[in-house]
């Protein structure tokens, strides 16, 4: 979030006051815990609210360093020669969008700056509208020179879940005779060298539900020997690790994964320094909320042990 000059001091004051309130409040609860007192559920809710709202109103940003799993995705896109074809599948709904759409945006940005052709599609009915957001906010705004149907193509949503993948592994046209603009498959220059998923260089599935990453690995990645990478919500990430690193070359998990990717992109491409980076922006609320949760876990254990000792006595 950008604040004009005079507001900067106000933001700093607001941020400091909020942090003092959170810190002071937690200290008070800690002292209460030393007496063996439990914390009411509503107090926890209040602290989480302040911890999440403060960095949204008064932004707190942190530096990020890409972990191996995220770096693997970045390096793969970076190493592909210009003109390679990448599928980005929007397999998520609006509920998951705040967590995974920043990944989709960052990966789209990276592919376009490297000169790759992108095939956008979705296995979720609501994914097509979310795809439109990325096209509008990233592709059309930041890359006005990129032409639809030439540098990228929007195939949209197709019903059928894994059935769709089962067909496009051998014949794309059978499932997508036209793109969303009703342009016939054969008249789309971006698809000139693509007759099936086996012809693409990388598949990136963004999502976490079903159909999604798992189906891409089982129905396309493995049988077609196509590299698959993914970006998923944090709660889904543990289920994806069994596929890493052989069936999934890398994965972005939750907002942290998005922030790491954005950070890596900004570090290597300074032209993206001023673009919106929701991943990095949202790390403030996430960090503060996690710290509050960690403190509550400590407080909970402290009061638990003190109570246990009192009961023994």
């Amino acid at each position: 979030m950008f604040y004009p000059g005079p507001l900067v001091a106000l933001v700093d004051i607001g941020r400091t006051i909020s942090l003092v309130i959170i810190g002071g409040g937690l200290l008070w609860l800690f002292i209460r815990a030393l007496k063996g007192k439990e914390v009411d559920r509503r107090v926890i809710f209040l602290f989480i609210f302040i911890a999440v709202a403060t960095p949204i109103l008064f932004p707190i940003t942190f530096g990020e360093k890409a972990t191996r799993v995220v770096k693997a995705v970045y390096d793969k896109i970076e190493s592909l020669p210009a003109g390679s074809t990448v599928i980005i599948s929007f397999d998520f709904d609006p509920a998951m969008a705040p967590e995974v759409q920043p990944m989709a945006n960052a990966i789209t940005r990276h592919c376009l700056v490297k000169g790759h052709k992108i095939i956008f599609m979705s296995l979720f009915a609501t994914g097509q509208a979310l795809l439109t957001q990325t096209l509008r906010d990233v592709v059309e705004t930041e890359f006005p020179d990129k032409k639809e149907e030439v540098d990228y193509v929007n195939l949209g949503y197709k019903a059928g879940n894994e059935g769709v993948l089962n067909v496009i592994i051998s014949d794309f046209k059978k499932m997508f005779p036209t793109d969303v603009n009703n342009i016939p498959y054969d008249s789309i220059p971006a698809l000139d060298d693509v007759s099936s998923c086996k012809d693409v260089d990388l598949i990136v599935s963004i999502g976490g539900g079903k159909p999604g990453v798992k189906e891409w690995v089982l129905f396309v990645g493995d049988p077609g020997r196509v590299p698959v990478a993914c970006g998923v919500a944090a709660v889904v990430a543990p289920q994806m690790y069994p596929y890493y690193p052989k069936q999934l070359l890398g994965l972005l998990g939750g907002i942290k994964g998005a922030a790491e990717y954005e950070s890596e992109l900004i570090h290597n491409y300074p032209r993206f320094k001023d673009v919106d980076t929701p991943g990095l922006r949202m790390m403030g609320p996430q960090t503060l909320a996690h710290m509050v949760i960690i403190t509550f876990i400590l407080i909970g254990n402290l009061s638990f042990f003190i109570k246990k000792r009192k009961d023994r006595q």
């Binding site: 926890i44 809710f45 602290f47 989480i48 999440v52 942190f62 530096g63 360093k65 972990t67 191996r68 609006p94 509920a95 998951m96 969008a97 705040p98 967590e99 009915a125 609501t126 509208a129 979310l130 795809l131 439109t132 096209l135 509008r136 059309e140 949209g156 197709k158 019903a159 059928g160 879940n161 059935g163 769709v164 089962n166 067909v167 051998s170 059978k174 969303v180 944090a234 990430a237 543990p238 289920q239 690790y241 069994p242 890493y244 998990g253 942290k256 790390m283 996430q286 960090t287 909320a289 996690h290 710290m291 509050v292 949760i293 509550f296 876990i297 909970g300 254990n301 638990f304 042990f305």
Partner: protein, 225 residues
């Protein structure tokens, strides 16, 4: 006959699709059946819409508890459907995609559905915090292991983890909290997840065989005859 015919169809199609995977000349057959399936899958939308109407109209007419919300649901459904179907307010006209940038359908999606979905999902933060406070207690050995793992994962998901352990040299970087969090995901979590997945896989194979061979017949429903 009411039982035998569906059982025969299931057996025949099931065997055909199994063979289509292993016999190359039959591969296209499997693909064609998938396309048939995809066409049938589209009808699920009609069923879904029909069911939504049935449930909420009945709730409204019988004035069941919270019937007022059904008005909002039905109105939202009708308005979105009409705008999407007839491309009302779509700059590209009737030939454009319903989700074309700037279309009314997309605006409804952007400014109603997206914030509502995100709000529902974000409520998780409050419940997770409350549940963590109550559940992560070192009551016994297993709970302590869970607590330590949760602690590392929580810390590893924040830049604070990098700050605290950033001083650890590159050669021992696995000990840095974010990498430790990745290790927990990549070793103990992976082992557990794979065991579950293999179990599910074997279950799916045996269940599929039971259906194809006609041993499992619950999908046919109750035979009233």
């Amino acid at each position: 006959m009411r039982r035998e015919v569906p059982l025969f169809i299931t057996f025949f199609i099931g065997m055909l699709l199994i063979f289509s995977v292993f016999i190359p000349p039959m591969e296209s057959l499997g693909e064609d059946f998938t396309v048939f399936f995809d066409i049938i899958a589209v009808f699920a939308f009609f069923l879904g819409g029909g069911n939504l109407l049935r449930v909420h109209v009945s709730k409204l007419t019988r004035q069941k508890r919270d019937w007022q919300y059904s008005i909002v649901t039905l109105l939202g459904f009708a308005v979105t459907l009409v705008i999407g179907l007839f491309k009302i307010g779509n700059p590209g006209g009737i030939a454009a995609a319903p989700t074309a940038a700037g279309s009314l359908f997309q605006e409804i999606f952007d400014y109603c559905l997206v914030p509502l979905g995100a709000t529902m999902y974000s409520l998780l933060a409050f419940f997770v915090a409350s549940a963590s406070y109550r559940a992560f207690r070192a009551k016994n050995r297993e709970a302590t292991i869970l607590l330590i793992a949760a602690f590392i994962i929580l810390l590893g998901r924040t830049p604070f983890g990098t700050v605290v352990t950033g001083w650890i040299p590159e050669s021992f970087d696995v000990l840095q909290v974010p990498n430790l969090a990745v290790w927990i995901m990549n070793a103990p979590n992976l082992a557990g997840q794979r065991a579950i997945m293999i179990g599910i896989g074997l279950g799916v194979v045996s269940m599929s065989l039971r259906v194809i061979l006609g041993i499992e017949r619950t999908y046919l429903g109750e035979d009233k005859s």
